[in-house]
């Protein structure tokens, strides 16, 4: 081995297991050519929180759209072109000065893919799933979202077919902004309810 030669890191045990399953399934003709790359590309660049941000911004500027969104989330979200797996039954819950909504899935990691993409690691890990239904006030404060005692917290455990999207409050001082500028303000975590804007 020469100094400066190419030494790729050895594959970790989990990488070896993934490679083993991929190879066996490919040999059996079960993995279509380009499938892995295509599904990866879609979730890395097309399906993500930028979609949900457009829904939120539209609701902020168009009161009639907001009404439709709260009445039938699936249909109103489809108006903007978003839908599909894990988004077939959408319910949008609205934050107000007195009510803060937050979503969780205690049993696995259900999440509204078409509008938020794939969930972040912390959403899927045990501490968030265990604690959000038991001590949400403490947990939200720890995550940088302290709420006054008189704000009601509504936790939504996504245990059946409905997937939730939080409609955050429009921040003050944004009256002159365009819909596109508003969408840029909307964060993923504000639509989970783990943050306020």
């Amino acid at each position: 081995m020469s100094v400066g030669g190419h030494h790729p890191a050895p594959a970790s045990p989990v990488e070896q297991r993934v490679a083993a399953l991929e190879a066996l399934l490919t040999e059996r003709g079960l993995v279509p050519a380009g499938f892995i790359e295509e599904i990866t590309r879609r979730y890395e660049s097309e399906i993500g929180p930028m979609n949900g941000a457009k829904v939120v911004a539209r609701a902020w500027v168009d009161p009639q759209y907001k009404q439709r969104l709260l009445a039938d989330g699936t249909a109103a979200i489809a108006e903007l072109g978003f839908g599909g797996p894990e988004g077939d039954h959408m319910v949008v819950v609205q934050n107000t000065p007195g009510i803060h909504n937050v979503i969780v899935c205690t049993l696995c990691s259900c999440y509204p893919w078409p509008v938020l993409g794939l969930p972040p690691a912390w959403y899927k890990d045990p501490p968030y799933r265990a604690r959000m239904v038991r001590e949400p006030r403490t947990l939200l404060a720890e995550m940088g979202c302290p709420l006054p005692d008189d704000v009601e917290i509504r936790v939504w455990d996504s245990s059946a077919e409905v997937r939730y999207l939080v409609l955050p409050e429009r921040p003050p001082g944004t009256e002159g902004m365009t819909e596109a500028e508003l969408a840029d303000l909307v964060t993923r975590d504000s639509m989970i309810g783990a943050a306020r804007l």
């Binding site: 045990p13 066996l24 205690t106 045990p126 501490p127 799933r129 239904v133 949400p136």
Partner: protein
Amino acid sequence: MDGIHDLGGMQGFGEVGYSPAEPVFRRRWEAVARALLVVVAGAVKASGGEFRHSIERMEPGHYLTSSYYEHWLTAAATLAVEHGLVTHSELEARAGGWFPLSGPVLAPPVVDVSPDVDRPRFDVGDRVRVREWHPPGHTRCPGYIRGKNGTVVRVDGIHSVPDIEAHGTARRREPTYSVRFDAADLWRDGQRGVRVHVDLWDSYLERS
């Protein structure tokens, strides 16, 4: 089953490893594992219930010490072996070592079910109690609400019961409801001004 996945309310996990921004996939193998589960679930026609149950059956220590995408990998490999696409020994030979799979299904297969329930038994505002049962198979009724009283706040559509679809080709569809619980009714140390909503199939509930 009363498995390790049923985490609501468990204590001792510590802080959330919170990050406001992270890549969709941190390593390429995560994306591959995710895609392979889609491949396997499609090839064996696994229902959502069967897929979720294949993760829930992971050995608890493995479940808690592995990441989400390792769960998906384990589910994909388990379903592939159980449906005869590959064998466990082939997987271990290729991986060059240990390849943990999920444990066996504890519940008998469901072959005969009663007809669909088309009409909701409950309306918005009704008080309901969650049945206190402990099915050995898949269920979407979390442990922390069993035996607790709540109020129906939304009646949703008619959906396939996961407890049935996870264990065979039989299907029964029932209404689902969103049920609101006051934190004080769930936990001795329930926080003030907190309401927890859980979405539940009709057969999980009885009139309060």
